[in-house]
């Protein structure tokens, strides 16, 4: 029964993978910069705990940030995530609400040999989605000039995790980065005698980066995670397709996708798990064809949270096995205003984990409520409510000799 269910999940995840081209975020003005807003995701468990999870090893938390922290043992694991987001964007001229959702990631992990686990991931790295409109007038002619942005950078990752001695785990991933940043520029005229236009600018990105992760467990209840992600000049090719019939492929260029590092600690105390993470991505190194285009700052994020679960024994009552999570995080986004001040965002998070099928699966849900930017120094203040859900299942498919 369960085997058929996880195969269904596999099928669903394949569908999700095909839908991964569309961002799982609502509109944000700040996603109009660079490659879009960085999407920080560790695991669904971490999402409810302020995103902190680099140092958490949990058999039911498929860790995409620190691959070394995947403690899946002999089980083959599959996880899929959805994000759904509401954003109220307010400027001095008014406000607008947008909402959007989509698949947000797939993980498929299985044991290869003694202490070696194969890891495959599909995840968005940056997300861009916005629509800006200018109502203009030239003499008596009224018209609108509109830009719609959509897309982002994603990564398909393959790698191995090695469990050295249950106290030291290391992992490496090779990330096949890909994605399309789409821009749609429109002219819409009030008089019907004018021809509206809709021009598509699609920038295709590709390139390989690498992730390294380490998880140290000096004592059973303490976890320390370290990650390092390489940066890379991604290949970039822009196709222009105008409604006028004009089309052009621009010469191939490069975009520097920056490297990152982070660390996190986790501590189990009684029925709680506490976690704290710091992460930094070197967006100040962002370059387009070797040239710095905008005032980019480093992305810095600090988050922490706690999980409470009355029991983890499968034999206990269901309600006792439900895990509850709380957390918060603060991040400095890569984009700065003219004065050099970087945009920030602050969120509080909450989550719940529901076991199913004899404790071999988890439905993890999280809610994040936050604020991005403000109107004193920046153009927009964005109030964000994000709901995310992950379905994760594990079962033994292969005999590996491991216990």
């Amino acid at each position: 029964m369960f085997a058929s269910r996880i195969k269904k999940l596999l099928l669903v995840s394949a569908v999700l993978a095909s839908a991964a081209g569309s961002p799982a975020r609502a509109d944000s003005y700040y996603s109009s910069f660079g490659l879009g807003l960085p999407r920080y995701y560790v695991s669904q468990k971490a999402t409810g705990m302020g995103g902190a999870g680099i140092g958490i090893a949990d058999p039911f938390a498929l860790n995409t940030m620190n691959a070394a922290a995947n403690q899946t043992g002999v089980a083959t694991c599959l996880g899929v995530q959805f994000d759904y987001e509401w954003v109220q964007s307010a400027s001095t001229l008014g406000e607008v609400q947008t909402a959007n959702g989509n698949a947000a990631g797939v993980q498929f992990i299985f044991p290869l040999k003694n202490r070696i686990t194969f890891i495959s991931l599909l995840r968005p790295l940056t997300i861009s989605r916005f629509m800006l409109k200018a109502d203009l007038k030239a003499d008596t002619l009224t018209y609108s000039h509109i830009i719609k942005g959509n897309g982002g950078l994603s990564a398909g990752s393959l790698g191995l995790q090695y469990n050295l001695n249950d106290r030291v785990m290391v992992a490496g991933l090779i990330n096949f980065n890909f994605g399309t940043i789409k821009e749609e520029w429109q002219y819409t005229f009030a008089p019907s005698g004018y021809v509206n236009s809709d021009d598509q600018y699609n920038s295709h990105l590709s390139g390989i980066t690498y992730d390294l992760g380490v998880l140290l467990k000096p004592v059973q209840r303490l976890g320390v995670g370290l990650i390092y992600k390489t940066g890379r000049d991604l290949k970039q090719k822009t196709d222009i397709s105008a409604s006028s019939g004009f089309s052009q492929t621009l010469p191939e260029g490069t975009i520097r996708y920056p490297g990152a590092f982070g660390f996190g600690v986790s501590l189990s105390v009684a029925k709680t798990v506490w976690a704290l993470d710091y992460y930094q991505q070197d967006w100040s190194a962002y370059r387009v064809n070797g040239v710095s285009r905008e005032a980019f700052k480093d992305y810095q994020r600090i988050g922490g949270g706690v999980e409470y679960s009355q029991s983890s024994r499968p034999t206990d009552r269901y309600l006792q096995r439900i895990a509850w999570r709380l957390g918060a995080y603060s991040a400095q986004l890569p984009y700065a205003n003219a004065a050099g001040d970087a945009v920030g965002e602050q969120f509080i998070t909450a989550g719940v984990s529901l076991p199913f099928k004899r404790d071999n699966g988890r439905i993890d849900m999280a809610v994040e409520l936050g604020l991005r930017g403000e109107r004193t120094h920046f153009l927009y203040e964005e109030k964000i409510l994000r709901f995310s859900v992950s379905v994760m299942g594990r079962e033994r498919w292969f005999a590996t000799g491991r216990n």
Binding site: S91, G94, T98, L136, A242, I363, M365, V389
Partner: protein
Amino acid sequence: MKPLLALGLAASLLAAGCTHDKPLPSGFDDLQRPDKGELKTVELRAVDSGRFWTAPVVGLAPTLLFGQFADTRSFLLLQFSGLSEIDTANVRSATVYLHQVSRFGDGDAFSAIVRPVTAEWTESEVAWDKAKNHYDPAVEWGRFEVPAADSGWFSFALDTTAVDGWIRDASKNFGVLLEFNQADYMAVLNSSDSDTSAGYGRFVYTTRAGVLDTVVSTISKDASLLIHQGAVAAETLEPRPDRLWIDDAAGYRSLLRFDLSSLPGNATVHHAVLTLHIDQSASTLPKGGLAITCNAVVNDSLWRPATLAADTLATYPGGYAYSDQSQLVFSGTTATRAMAALVQNWVLRNPPNYGMLLTGPYGADAARISLYTGVDQPEYTPKIEITYSIPPTTKF
């Protein structure tokens, strides 16, 4: 069950709440981009012009032209159907009725002669050059006067022996040619391709039983045979004349070219208005206006009339010129959009900018419009106002 519920919840959210096309209330101006594109308007003057004429082939036009106006005259070809149903060859009378709807020019009634046609002809192909050798100018099958009227029916009698001959041998029924020696105006008649009041023949005959009977036969085929007698030979380009002509009876059409080199190759054309200045003193425009269409020249930068071809797009710029206007402005919604498409194609070099061909409804009437080229009066040079956008700087 629970995972399916979770998946269902996620799918419902996706299906119910995705929003699009909600622009943020500001931010376009602050979008970090060196150039966000720009809308521009430019007014260009014609840099080249020309005119030529070709004899119109107008057998399928809804009107017939008979008479003379200015330096163009027109004869008529008529052919009747249904005569084989008459069961005798004893025709007592044959009368042809034609319906005049207007005329170009004034003057007295003019005399016309009916001549036999000696060979088969096709409406879609016949012109004077082909027909002039296939009728018998020595035989007269009737003579009549075209009344000096603006409109109304008139008729003429046809030689009954000729009709007898058509009844006896339908393969000899090639119809008649109506000609004249001199006329002061050109009558516009409804043709067999008109929806209303087309001409017909009325044939009175005695049946084999000795009964007097009448049959009305429609005109199955007709065509105007237009003969332009200008100083310039047909299919001869007159470059840079001081006036452009579009003449429905003579077959004059005109060419214009604008220099679009100031428009970038990636410009998007949103609007284009062509303005032509009319020399009313040399124009004859009907009350309902003269329809003029513009098509891009697709194959000949040298404008050789014999090989010049225009586009055959489904929509093309068009406008009406009226006798009380000093300008013909192609400003209608359809016209500006179609003109924008035409200019856009030039910008994309699809086809290259070989210019445009201005034409009228040839054979429909004897209207003529004379347009300034700016050669003698530069302020009246044809102009085109183009609104276009240049694209933004690409994001990367």
